[in-house]
C-alpha cells in the first residue's frame, strides 16, 4: 500500500504535488496540539517576581539525613554560584534544603521536587527556607530549576545568555531594576 501511494504521487502534476506538500505541512502545524494554558502553572514572570534569589551555578555536593525525630529525610544541595541574577548580596555558595533523599537503602521520593546531580549546571529560582534562613528552597518545585546543557537552557531550548537576559528584563520591569 505504501509503494502504491508513491506511484500515485509520482503520477501527479506539479501543481497538485505542491498542493499536497502544502497540505501535509499544514497538518503538522494544525494536528499537533497547541500548548495548554493552565491556571496554576507558574509563568516566567511569576517565577521571577516570587523568587528571592535567582542564580546560575553548579551543583557541588548533595547530602541527605534524617530530621531530629527520624521521621523525614531532608537533603542539602550546595550550589557554587557562577552568576547572581537576582538577590540581596553576592554569594559564592548557596545551600538548598528540601524534603526527600536517601539514607542507606531507604529513599524518600517527593513527586515533583527537583532532582539534582553533582556537577550539574543549573539556573535556579529560589526562596528562603522559613526555618533555616540561611538556606533556600526551589520556587515552584521542579519549575524553578532549569538544567543547562551545552550552553543551552534545556527545557526552553534557549541559549543561556538569552534566558538570563529575559529574566533580567522581567526583574527590571517589575522591580525597577533593584537587586
Amino acid at each position: 500500500m505504501f509503494v502504491g501511494f508513491f506511484e500515485y504521487i509520482r503520477g501527479l502534476r506539479v501543481k497538485k504535488k505542491r498542493v499536497l506538500l502544502i497540505s501535509l505541512l499544514g497538518m503538522i502545524f494544525f494536528v499537533l496540539p497547541l500548548s495548554a494554558t493552565v491556571l496554576l502553572k507558574m509563568s516566567m514572570e511569576e517565577l521571577t517576581t516570587s523568587s528571592e534569589e535567582i542564580v546560575q551555578g553548579k551543583v557541588k555536593e548533595i547530602t541527605s539525613q534524617w530530621n531530629e525525630k527520624k521521621t523525614l529525610i531532608f537533603s542539602e544541595i550546595k550550589i557554587e554560584v557562577k552568576e547572581r541574577i537576582k538577590g540581596e548580596k553576592e554569594k559564592k555558595e548557596i545551600v538548598i534544603r528540601q524534603l526527600g533523599g536517601k539514607v542507606g537503602d531507604l529513599r524518600l521520593k517527593v513527586i515533583g521536587m527537583p532532582v539534582f546531580q553533582e556537577e550539574e549546571e543549573v539556573i535556579l529560582f529560589l526562596k528562603k527556607d522559613e526555618k533555616q534562613l540561611n538556606k533556600f528552597y526551589v520556587t515552584g518545585l521542579s519549575e524553578g530549576k532549569f538544567a543547562i546543557k551545552k550552553e543551552k537552557v534545556e527545557r526552553k531550548n534557549m541559549p543561556v545568555r538569552q534566558f538570563i537576559g529575559n529574566i533580567k528584563h522581567i526583574i527590571k520591569k517589575f522591580d525597577g531594576g533593584k537587586k
Binding site: 505541512l25 497547541l34 495548554a36 496554576l40 523525614l72 521520593k109 517527593v110 521536587m113 519549575e143
Partner: protein, 307 residues
C-alpha cells in the same frame, strides 16, 4: 531532491513527532510488593475545614484506580487517623493548614505525594498524600473557585501506586498530567493511558469485584470451599461510602434460612463478617452448597462446605 523524497521526509518527520510527542504513562522507580496488597490507607480525621464529604471523595478516588480491569492493585480504607505527615507505617492522606513551606513545598503546589521505598528492591514501604490547605480552598463538589478533592486525590493516588507525572501538553487530558486548574474535575476519570499505567505496574486480575461487595473466603482449598474439619471460616467483606443498614443471611440451596449473619448499621469504610459454618442455634451445619445474600446487592454468592 525529488518530490517523492521530500514527501517521504515530511511524513517521517510528522510520524516521528507524533510518535514521540506523548507518553501513554510514566512509571516511578518503585511499586508495591504483591504481599503488601491490599494496601491499607488512612485519612487524617481533621480533614479539611473547607468542605464536607472529603473522605468520601478520597475513597472514590482510590476506588477509581482499584476498579480498573486487568490489574491486581487493591486498597483498603482503614478509617480516620490521628497520625501526621511522617514515616510511621501509616499510608496517610492529610491536609496541611499551616507550615506548608517548612517542608520546602512551593505555594503553588496543590498537593504532594511522597513515596518511601527500598532502593535495593524498589518496593514501596509507605506512601503519603498531603493536600495544601494553607494556600488553597477545597471543595468536594467541583466548585469553580476551589480545588476539587476527588480531582486532585485521583492524580496523587496515581503516584501513591507508582505512576509519575505526565508533563507533555498532549497528555493534558490524562489524570496524571501534572497541572490542575480551579474547579477542574476531569482528573476524576481515568484516561485509557492512566489505566494502561496501573495495568503495567500490577498486571493480572484481582478477582471478583461487583459494586460495593468484596468476597474473600479463607480456605484450605481454592475458591469458596470451606473445610470445617480444618476450622476454616468464610470471610465476607463489604465497603461502604456512607452509613447503611446491612443484612447478610446464609441460606441452604433450597432457600431455607440458616444463619442471620449480620443485621446492623455499619459506618463508612471496610467491614468484615465471618461464618464458621454454624446456624443460628449454634450448631454446625452439614456439608453442601450454601448461599450468601446481602440486602444491598442482587448478586447471590455460593459457599461450599466440606467435612
Amino acid at each position: 531532491m525529488s518530490f517523492g523524497k521530500r514527501l517521504a521526509g515530511i511524513v517521517t518527520i510528522f510520524l516521528g513527532i507524533v510518535c514521540n510527542y506523548s507518553f501513554a504513562f510514566k512509571l516511578l522507580p518503585c511499586k508495591w510488593a504483591r504481599s503488601d496488597i491490599p494496601v491499607d490507607y488512612y485519612i487524617n480525621y481533621y480533614g479539611t475545614p473547607d468542605c464536607s464529604g472529603e473522605n468520601a471523595a478520597i475513597i472514590s478516588s482510590f476506588n477509581s484506580w482499584e476498579n480498573v480491569s486487568g490489574q491486581y492493585m487493591d486498597f483498603t480504607y482503614k478509617g480516620p487517623s490521628s497520625e501526621t505527615y511522617a514515616l510511621d507505617g501509616t499510608n496517610l492522606c492529610v491536609w496541611i493548614e499551616s507550615g506548608w513551606n517548612l517542608y520546602g513545598f512551593s505555594s503553588n503546589a496543590i498537593a504532594i505525594a511522597t513515596v518511601w521505598y527500598n532502593e535495593s528492591t524498589n518496593e514501596i514501604i509507605e506512601a503519603d498524600i498531603t493536600f495544601n490547605g494553607e494556600h488553597f480552598e477545597w471543595s468536594s463538589s467541583g466548585e469553580s473557585n476551589k480545588m476539587d478533592v476527588q480531582n486532585i486525590a485521583t492524580h496523587e493516588i496515581g503516584h501513591f501506586l507508582g505512576l509519575d507525572d505526565l508533563k507533555d501538553s498532549s497528555d493534558s487530558e490524562a489524570t496524571m498530567f501534572w497541572i490542575a486548574g480551579w474547579g477542574e474535575t476531569k482528573k476524576r476519570t481515568l484516561s485509557p493511558n492512566d489505566q494502561d499505567g496501573i495495568r503495567a505496574l500490577y498486571p493480572g486480575s484481582s478477582g471478583p469485584k461487583t459494586g460495593e461487595f468484596i468476597m474473600e473466603a479463607k480456605v484450605s482449598l481454592i475458591n469458596n470451599l470451606i473445610d470445617l474439619s480444618k476450622g476454616d471460616t468464610c470471610s465476607i467483606g463489604f465497603r461502604l461510602f456512607e452509613s447503611k443498614r446491612i443484612k447478610i443471611n446464609i441460606y441452604t440451596i433450597d432457600g431455607e434460612l440458616v444463619k442471620d449473619l449480620a443485621d446492623d448499621v455499619y459506618g463508612e469504610g471496610d467491614h468484615w463478617v465471618f461464618w464458621s459454618g454454624k446456624n443460628d442455634a449454634g450448631n454446625k451445619v452439614g456439608a453442601g452448597i450454601y448461599l450468601v445474600k446481602l440486602n444491598f446487592t442482587d448478586k447471590i454468592y455460593k459457599i461450599a462446605l466440606v467435612k
